[in-house]
Structures are given as structure tokens and as C-alpha cells.
């Protein structure tokens, strides 16, 4: 591949202009040489023999006339066994190794190998003479709890490749040759366990895309029951600062029912990632018995790290996600926050002096956001198995106003919207997902009719509460008042969930089923209540019992006892079921 050189002609923040000879590619990587330091950069505009490059480092010390080396390669990541448990920056630089080499600070210009030079136990699944195509499996290695497939590099040309040679079962270095393949024209290529892939190009080495239907359980009640997300789907969490976006994602990264989690800490606080970094290697995943770290890769390009690398970081993350999807695994990508990524685009666009759109975001903001979320999906692979990438992104709207460009562009493309409300977080009602404004296109594991019924109580309760602001409690009928109390009960014992309680922080779906069924009965019952005072006091007791129940481990004796206590407290006041609810209950029994 041709490599070219150039000379710096200008510096403006992290954008450097360069004159070059020969041919260069858009999105090609180049290095600016200042003394001993090499600053990684990407070509983002070419005109004539001048190129604009965004530099993934601070540019102090760069001067006109400094030389530039082009690599001929697009901005890419390394894919292969060893990606899990890693902590990378936005360009896949391993941060712990960097720390071991450079100490406390991020020294610019130091780029280390992304995939560690380890030995892996390789078992071939093809033999000499077989034909394979890109994305098909040549062999496997055990990566922690997963069978990691060593595949024909995705960048190989379409069509049949003949296996010229393949190594025997045994231990090999990740970068040593495991196979030689030959294409139809007789061109031979050596294959190791590692190959590269340009991050801005989706990996599509699968047979077909499917419709996301199977729910991805998060163990957050309000999500799984009311606002579910499907495997291979997309969702967004917009919310003002402090509303609980990050905590919600942290909980999801622990508890989600997927194989692999990619955490993309994109342009937000370093301290928050540190919690994940330090806690995951200690936390045991009850499903696998191994630490959570073994199913996790962290891409960490926090707010004070270079902005251009932040722009790249979400692509690095999704590319790694797509790679594991090719192995038939379910991957969840959590990006916090996509607004910082959008702002990184805005900064660059400003330096390129492009015509600004709304709030100075570039005109291509919407299409860029859409094509990013489009990389999620559940797919059928060439071997018939399925794999998925689910993407959940937080959005940090300026001023907490959802009308701004990033939120709006995101809402157009995602399958579920978990909008956080300042009002709810101020009142410490966590997770502060607004139960009425939020929506989903996916369906719940919990009986849909019961869920709709509960939602209608929330609506009605909200109406009554609005009305009470006008006519006062005294102007409200006992019936309406009871509905209001019921909706408040549903909110405080089911929608709200304490992320910092050792039991309540995760509600398995079976548990949600049990609690929701009983709560549904409470909501659906006409109760024998004398007056408002009695109604309030009765519902308060219920609330207390449910809260205590939520804080009780499911495998403890108390769990069943609470259930019985609540049931009998309900019986003591029960008159009859509401008509609509009666129908739901009956149609359920028929099954």
C-alpha cells in the first residue's frame, strides 16, 4: 500500500491542515511528527493537495512545517480473542497498559497493541480443501466463558476461499498463522487469530437481519414490565443532568440478560467509569459464576480526553459488538452519552467551517445518528444461528429540553424511549423514567392486558392528581381519590426501584411476574373503604408491605410470608374486581 508524506500548514485547535503529495484516502490515518512524538490523526477533508486532519491528541507544540506520515489505512480496530475484560480508550489503546508504562497521566503519542500477545488454545473446525467465505468459522478458542470463533477475516473478498492449510489443535500465539486461504483466482492469504476492521463500516457478514422480538431483560421493573427493549433493538435514555442516566446504564450493564456488554463511556465523567472498572472484576455474575468483567469490554474516552477520539469511540465500541455478534452471541452496547459524541462532531464541523444547522450541529447530524443505531440488530448468521447487538444510548439534552436536535434525531430512529424526568428525580423517584411520556415498540414478557390496565390506572391517577390541584381533595370523590392512591402505590412500589438496595437493585423477571400479579389484584379491586383518611391509611399500609417485600430476598422464607400478608390484607377489604379487570383475569385463566 502506498504511504505518503505531507507537511503541516496550519493548526486550529485539534484540526491541522496539511499539504501532501500522491494519493490519500478520506478517513485515512496519519501521524504528525513532532520530535519524538507521533500524533495520531484522521483525514476528514481533502481539497486539491491540501487535507484537513483531526488530531486525536492535544496539538500544543505543533508548528507549520512539521512532517506528516500517512498510513494508507482507514481508522480501524483489531479484532480477535482477548477483547473481553479490556479497558480501551476511544482508539482502542489499552489504558491499564498505558498506565503501567506512563504512570498517572495520559501521555500523548503512545499507542500500544490493542490485543494482547497471548497464546490461545486453538481447535480447528475446517480441514484442508474445505471452502469457506468471509465470516465463517475456521476454528475456535475458549475465551473465558465463551467459545470465541476464529473467522475468515471480514475484509476478505466475497466468494469462496479454499483452505490451503490449517494448523492442528494446539496452543498458538494470537498473531501467528493458523491457516492459509486461497481465493478463486489463486491468490493466497495468511490468516491469524487477529484482523482489523475499519470502525465506520458496519460488519455485515451474516445471512439476514431479523425483527427484534425477544425481550432483553434488564431487571429494572419499569423497563421490563412497562417499557421493554428487545434483543437487537435500540433505545435511548434522554434526561437532564442528575436525572439518573448513568446509574440506570450501570445497573443495566450488570444485570442485563445478554452474553456480552460493551460499555462506551463517551465524553462524560472519568470517575463513573472507574466504578465499573473497579467493581466488575469483583462482582460475580450469578448466571455464569464468573466475574462480570469476563463478559465486558470498556471503551473509555471520558470528557477530558481528546475530543476527536471521543467521536471515534462509539464506532470502536459498536465494531467490537458486531464482531461478537458474528459468533452468535447477544451483545449489549451502552453508550453514555451520545450527546458528547454529537458535540465532538459539532466541534469538528465548526473547525471545518461547514454551514451550521440547528444549535450549530452539522447538517448530517441526523443521518449520522441514524446510521449508528442502524448497526444494532438481530441477525441470522451463515451457520443458521442468531446473534444480536442491542444499543442503548443516553442523551444529554442542553437545558434538559427534549426539543433539541440530538434528542429529536435519536427519537426518530430508536425502538424505545426511556425519558427521564427532572420532576421525578428531584422527588427521588428513581429510576426517574417518566411512565406516561415514555414509549416502546417492543412487547413485554408480562401479560400485555394487565400492563395496559396498570398504565390506565397511572393515567387516571395523574388526571385525578391534576384535578385535585384545581378542586382540592375535598372536591374529589372517594372513588377518584382511591384511584389516585392506587396509582401512587403502583408508582412507589413498582415503578420506583432502589439501585442501591442489595435486594431491590435487580428484580428477576419471575419476581416481577409474582409482584406484578399481586399488585394488579390490588389495583383491580374495589375496596371497602369508609373515607379518604381510611383510604390513605390503608394504601400506606399496602405500600409499606410491598416495600418491605421488595427488600426481601426471593429465596428467603419471609418472601412468601409477605405475599400472604398482602393477600390477606387485600381480602379483608375486597368487594369485587373492577369489570375490565375481571375480563382480563378470566381470559387469562382460560389459557
Amino acid at each position: 500500500m502506498a504511504t505518503n508524506t505531507g507537511l503541516v500548514t496550519g493548526v486550529n485547535g485539534n484540526m491541522v491542515t496539511v499539504v501532501f503529495d500522491g494519493d490519500i484516502l478520506l478517513n485515512e490515518v496519519g501521524y504528525i511528527l513532532i520530535g519524538e512524538e507521533r500524533l495520531k490523526s484522521e483525514v476528514i477533508r481533502i481539497s486539491g493537495n491540501s487535507a484537513s486532519m483531526q488530531v486525536f491528541e492535544m496539538t500544543n507544540g505543533v508548528k507549520v512545517g512539521d512532517s506528516v506520515e500517512f498510513t494508507g489505512e482507514l481508522l480501524s480496530v483489531e479484532l480477535g480473542p482477548g477483547l473481553l475484560t479490556q479497558i480501551y480508550d476511544g482508539l482502542q489503546n489499552p489504558l491499564p497498559e498505558l498506565a503501567a508504562q506512563c504512570g498517572f497521566f495520559l501521555q500523548r503519542g503512545v499507542y500500544l497493541q490493542a490485543i494482547p500477545d497471548a497464546q490461545w488454545e486453538f481447535t480447528p473446525v475446517v480441514k484442508k480443501g474445505d471452502t469457506v467465505s468471509p465470516g465463517e468459522t475456521l476454528g475456535t478458542v475458549p475465551e473465558g466463558i465463551f467459545t470465541h470463533k476464529i473467522m475468515v477475516p471480514f475484509g476478505f473478498s466475497d466468494g469462496a476461499w479454499k483452505v490451503v492449510s490449517i494448523v492442528k489443535k494446539g496452543s498458538y500465539n494470537v498473531r501467528s498463522e493458523v491457516a492459509v486461504l486461497e481465493d478463486e483466482k489463486g491468490k493466497k492469504e495468511s490468516v491469524s487469530m487477529v484482523f482489523t476492521w475499519p470502525i465506520k463500516r458496519p460488519i455485515t457478514r451474516y445471512k439476514e437481519r431479523l425483527k427484534p422480538t425477544e425481550p432483553m431483560i434488564t431487571q429494572v421493573r419499569i423497563i421490563d414490565t412497562f417499557l421493554p427493549v428487545a434483543k437487537g433493538g435500540t433505545y435511548c435514555i434522554p434526561g437532564p443532568f442528575g436525572a439518573g442516566k448513568t446509574v440506570l446504564q450501570q445497573m443495566t450493564s450488570r444485570n442485563a440478560d445478554v452474553d456480552i456488554v460493551i460499555v462506551a463511556a463517551c465524553g462524560e465523567r472519568a470517575g463513573e467509569v472507574v466504578e465499573t472498572l473497579k467493581e466488575f472484576p469483583e462482582l460475580i455474575d450469578p448466571k455464569t459464576g464468573k466475574t462480570l468483567m469476563e463478559r465486558t469490554t470498556i471503551i473509555c474516552n471520558t470528557s477530558s480526553m481528546p475530543v476527536a477520539a471521543r467521536e471515534a469511540s462509539v464506532y470502536t465500541a459498536v465494531t467490537i459488538g458486531e464482531y461478537y455478534r458474528q459468533m452468535g452471541l447477544d451483545v449489549l452496547l451502552l453508550a453514555d452519552s451520545t450527546s458528547r459524541w454529537a458535540q465532538a462532531m459539532r466541534e469538528m464541523s465548526g473547525r471545518l467551517e461547514e454551514i451550521p444547522g440547528e444549535e450549530a450541529f452539522p447538517a448530517y447530524l441526523e443521518s449520522t445518528i441514524a446510521s449508528f443505531y442502524e448497526r444494532a440488530g438481530i441477525v441470522r448468521l451463515k451457520d443458521g444461528s442468531t446473534g444480536s447487538v442491542t444499543i442503548g444510548g443516553t442523551v444529554s439534552p442542553a437545558g434538559g429540553n427534549f426539543e433539541e436536535p440530538v434528542t429529536q434525531a435519536t427519537l426518530k430512529v430508536v425502538g424505545a424511549f426511556h425519558g427521564l424526568s427532572r420532576e421525578r428525580s428531584d422527588a427521588r423517584k428513581y429510576p426517574a423514567i417518566h411512565p406516561l411520556d415514555s414509549w416502546t415498540k417492543y412487547s413485554s414478557v408480562i401479560n400485555q392486558d394487565k400492563v395496559s390496565y396498570a398504565r390506565s390506572i397511572l393515567f387516571r391517577g395523574n388526571e385525578v392528581s391534576q384535578m385535585m390541584k384545581v378542586v382540592g381533595e375535598e372536591g374529589t370523590s372517594l372513588d377518584d381519590y382511591t384511584t389516585y392512591l392506587k396509582s401512587d402505590l403502583l408508582d412507589s412500589v413498582y415503578l420506583q426501584q432502589n439501585s442501591f438496595d442489595p435486594v431491590d437493585f435487580a428484580a428477576p423477571i419471575e419476581r416481577q411476574q409474582i409482584v406484578f400479579d399481586l399488585l394488579f389484584e390490588v389495583l383491580a379491586s374495589e375496596l371497602n373503604l369508609e373515607d379518604k383518611k381510611e383510604a390513605r391509611s390503608y394504601i400506606n399500609e399496602m405500600r409499606q408491605a410491598f416495600i418491605d417485600w421488595n427488600n426481601t430476598p426471593q429465596d428467603s422464607e419471609r418472601f412468601g410470608q409477605y405475599k400472604d400478608e398482602i393477600s390477606s390484607a387485600l381480602k379483608s377489604r375486597f368487594i369485587s374486581y373492577d369489570k375490565k379487570a375481571m375480563k382480563i383475569l378470566q381470559s387469562n385463566q382460560v389459557v
Binding site: L106, L277, E474
Partner: protein
């Protein structure tokens, strides 16, 4: 010897440009005019055109003035002799003391590798219940005080600084009123803390560019002391002035504004400063408390808004009280699990009830009949405000927690509070 350039091509606001060779981005220069000398630094290069921002401002600079490039970026002396001294934003003494030039360090250095950070673990006690109980301050936290102008934010800042057990205080003043500067100085002197304080002060009448340098210079020094094992508290007041100085330069540079005239990189610029807060494993720490005044009491104004997304919470100062709503310490859960087992539940429970109290107040103000429950809430709210929220209250955390239970039991039945039964059993005052 450095070449001296004698032709300035353009002067616009605080930004000048000259044709020069071999100049590096970020490097310093000395601009000599008939009013004296000023430092300037390179902010843009385009072919032979070099753009600089002049620390003392562009006013009075003439096209024939001299520009001499120094070949290094902005630096400050790092020495124990900084203690008790007062400097301006360029690091020049404003206290008639000697100029310091040994052991020069660069400002605005690289950020800490996230993999080297540790989870914050030490509570900073302030004696203010709205902080200690409800929004605990933690060593290495970065936290602004959001305030309307006219609120006693500098008093609160000073009070926390006096109470906190730190080795060193660095005060970065931006657009500080001279009276406020004297207030800090007097307070620190009276408490004997002046000898472990360093001032970098830009007052309202000083040149804009110097305002821009204050956070970097303060934090560079703080970082060095922390690496040498010191617990450093950095007070920055007022960051809104800093942001406005950035805006001014951005507009002069004809950058496309993103939001109410502020540049698109406002978030990144603020973040690179605030993220200097850190706890170095095996060494000291940097904690940042900053004031962000909110123009028009509008928390959605770009400066408080971007700040809130960056910092680890905020104290919201309103009517001379730290408001429970809007105030947040994001690090509180790192430390409040080890204080007392009722701390978290009480913190959440009392705020939920206070929210209900606010609703009752609203109802009442609209002339509705108050139910028995409303009356209970009204009583609760009043007690909460007078006994816990008032800024004059100064009691240790444990005492404040006990007081919280007293207030609850004065007003409610246990089951009305939503508190877990086992906590009620332990902490509910018995004589009620």
C-alpha cells in the same frame, strides 16, 4: 537568540496576528508596547500567520509593537514559596512579593488516565446538614455551587474551606470583586489558614485573557502539590466569568457559536478543568469547589447546564439555603454506606416527604382545605427548614441524623414515612 517581529498585521479585541516562522502552537510570546510588556500565547497557526491572545488585552497595542516568541508554553513556578502568596492570572505577583521563577511547570497538562483513578472514599465533613446528610461532600469531588447573584456563595465557599480538613487551599478568583477578594483574605487570615493558601486572582477590572488562565494555573499547581502528597482544596469563583471570557475570545476569533453565543467546545473546555479533580493512589488529592452564578436564575443557561453535566453534583443556593431539590452529590453513595445504617434511608425518606410538603404548600396557597395529612406535612416542612436547612446550623452528621428522626416522630406515624420497618425499630424515638 529569538527573532523579534515588529509588524503586527491585525489587532481585534484581545487577539493579534503576526507573520512569523517556526512558532509552535501554544507557545508564549512577549508583546512590548509603549504601555509596557504583556505575555501572549499562540492560539492558531495558518501558514506564516500566527494568531495570539494577549494577556493584558489588545487595547493600546499598535501595529508597530514588538513581538518576541519565547519558545515555550505558559508556565508557573512550583515551590513551597507559593504558600501565602497572591498572583494574577499570568502568575505575576500582585502582593509586592518577589517573582518566583525556579522549577517552572507547564499548565494545562494531560489528563489522568482513568485506569489510574480510584473510587473516592473519604467524606469531607462540613457541619452543614444539607451537605453532610443529604449531599455528602467527598474528597476529590468536583462540585459547583449554583447560585443567583446576590446569594452568599463566597461565604459558603469560605465556610466549607475553613471547616474542611485539607493541607492546602488554592483560591482561583475570576472576575472577583475586590471586596470579595478581601473577604477571602480576611477570613483565611483570621483562621490562620493564610499560610497554607495560594491565591490566583483575576479581579473584575483585570484583562479578560488573564481570567482564562486562572483555572489552569490554579489546577496545575494543585496537581503538583497533590502528587507530592498534599490534600488540596481548589476554590474557583466564579466559573461563569471564565466561560464568558471564553465566549469573548471565541467571538473575536469568529467561531460559530452553538448556544447563546458560547462556543461549541464549552463543554470540553469546562470538563478538562473540572476533571483535574482526582485522588492519586499513594499520594494526595485535588478537590474542586466552584461557584457558578446563574444568569437570570436560569439553571438551563449554557454555563450551569454544561457544568451540571460535568461535575459530580451541585449545591443549589437559593434564599440563603442549600435547596434540597436541584442539589446533588453524586459521590454521596460512595461514603454514606459507611456512616450509619439509617443515613441513606433517612436522606431519601426525608426528601420525599419534603417534596410532598411542597405540594401541600401549593395547595394551601390556592386556598384548598388542608387535610389531616396536609397539616402533618406542613408541620414537617417547617421543622425541616428551620432545624436542618438553615445555613446557620452547624452540627455533626450523627447529631443531624438523630434530629431527622426527631422531626419525623414529631410529625408522623412510622408507617406514614415509608421508612423500612427495621430502621423504625432501631431509630424511631421511643418516648413518642
Amino acid at each position: 537568540m529569538q527573532k523579534i517581529y515588529t509588524k503586527i498585521d491585525s489587532i481585534s479585541g484581545n487577539v493579534i496576528s503576526v507573520k512569523a516562522e517556526n512558532v509552535r502552537n501554544g507557545d508564549l510570546a512577549v508583546v512590548t508596547s509603549k504601555h509596557g510588556e504583556s505575555l501572549a500565547n499562540v492560539i492558531k497557526l495558518n501558514g506564516e500567520n500566527v494568531t495570539l491572545q494577549v494577556f493584558a488585552g489588545g487595547r493600546g497595542v499598535s501595529t508597530g509593537d514588538k513581538v518576541r516568541f519565547l519558545g515555550y508554553p505558559m508556565r508557573i513556578s512550583y515551590t513551597e514559596d507559593l504558600m501565602g502568596r497572591v498572583f494574577n492570572g499570568s502568575g505575576i505577583p500582585r502582593d509586592n512579593g518577589p517573582t518566583l521563577d525556579e522549577n517552572m511547570i507547564e499548565i494545562g497538562g494531560p489528563s489522568v488516565n482513568p485506569a489510574k483513578r480510584i473510587i473516592p472514599r473519604n467524606m469531607i465533613r462540613t457541619g452543614i446538614p444539607m451537605i453532610d446528610v443529604f449531599n455528602t461532600l467527598v474528597e476529590s469531588q468536583k462540585l459547583p455551587i449554583f447560585s443567583v447573584s446576590g446569594e452568599p456563595y463566597n461565604e459558603v465557599l469560605a465556610r466549607i474551606a475553613m471547616q474542611a480538613e485539607v493541607d492546602l487551599i488554592i483560591l482561583g478568583g475570576m472576575g472577583l470583586k475586590y471586596d470579595d477578594y478581601l473577604f477571602f483574605k480576611d477570613t483565611l487570615e483570621a483562621s490562620g489558614a493564610m499560610s497554607r493558601t495560594i491565591f490566583f486572582v483575576h479581579t473584575a477590572s483585570d484583562p479578560t485573557v488573564e481570567c482564562l488562565l486562572v483555572p489552569d494555573i490554579s489546577l496545575a499547581v494543585a496537581e503538583k502539590f497533590a502528587l507530592d502528597g498534599k490534600k488540596v482544596l481548589v476554590l474557583l469563583t466564579d466559573m461563569t466569568n471564565f466561560a464568558d471570557a471564553m465566549k469573548e475570545i471565541a467571538i473575536t476569533m469568529e467561531q460559530v457559536p452553538s448556544n447563546r453565543g458560547y462556543p461549541g467546545d464549552l463543554y470540553s473546555s469546562l470538563a478538562s478543568r473540572y476533571e483535574k479533580a482526582v485522588d492519586f493512589e499513594g499520594a494526595g488529592s485535588v478537590t474542586i469547589l466552584a461557584v457558578t452564578t446563574m444568569p437570570g436564575d436560569d439553571v438551563t443557561h449554557p454555563v450551569p447546564d454544561n457544568t451540571g453535566y460535568i461535575t459530580e453534583g451541585q449545591y443549589y443556593l437559593k434564599n440563603s439555603r442549600i435547596e434540597p431539590f436541584g442539589s446533588l452529590s453524586r459521590l454521596k453513595q460512595q461514603v454514606n454506606k459507611d456512616t450509619r445504617d439509617d443515613h441513606r434511608a433517612l436522606m431519601d425518606g426525608m426528601i420525599k416527604l419534603y417534596a410532598s410538603f411542597k405540594e401541600s404548600v401549593e395547595k394551601k396557597s390556592m386556598g384548598f382545605q388542608m387535610s389531616e395529612w396536609d397539616d402533618k406535612l406542613l408541620k414537617y416542612g417547617d421543622l425541616f427548614e428551620s432545624k436542618l436547612m438553615d445555613l446557620s446550623v452547624n452540627i455533626p452528621l450523627e447529631e443531624a441524623l438523630d434530629l431527622g428522626w426527631d422531626i419525623l416522630s414529631d410529625c408522623f406515624d412510622p408507617k406514614e414515612t415509608g421508612m423500612r420497618s427495621e430502621l423504625v425499630l432501631t431509630y424511631w424515638p421511643k418516648d413518642n
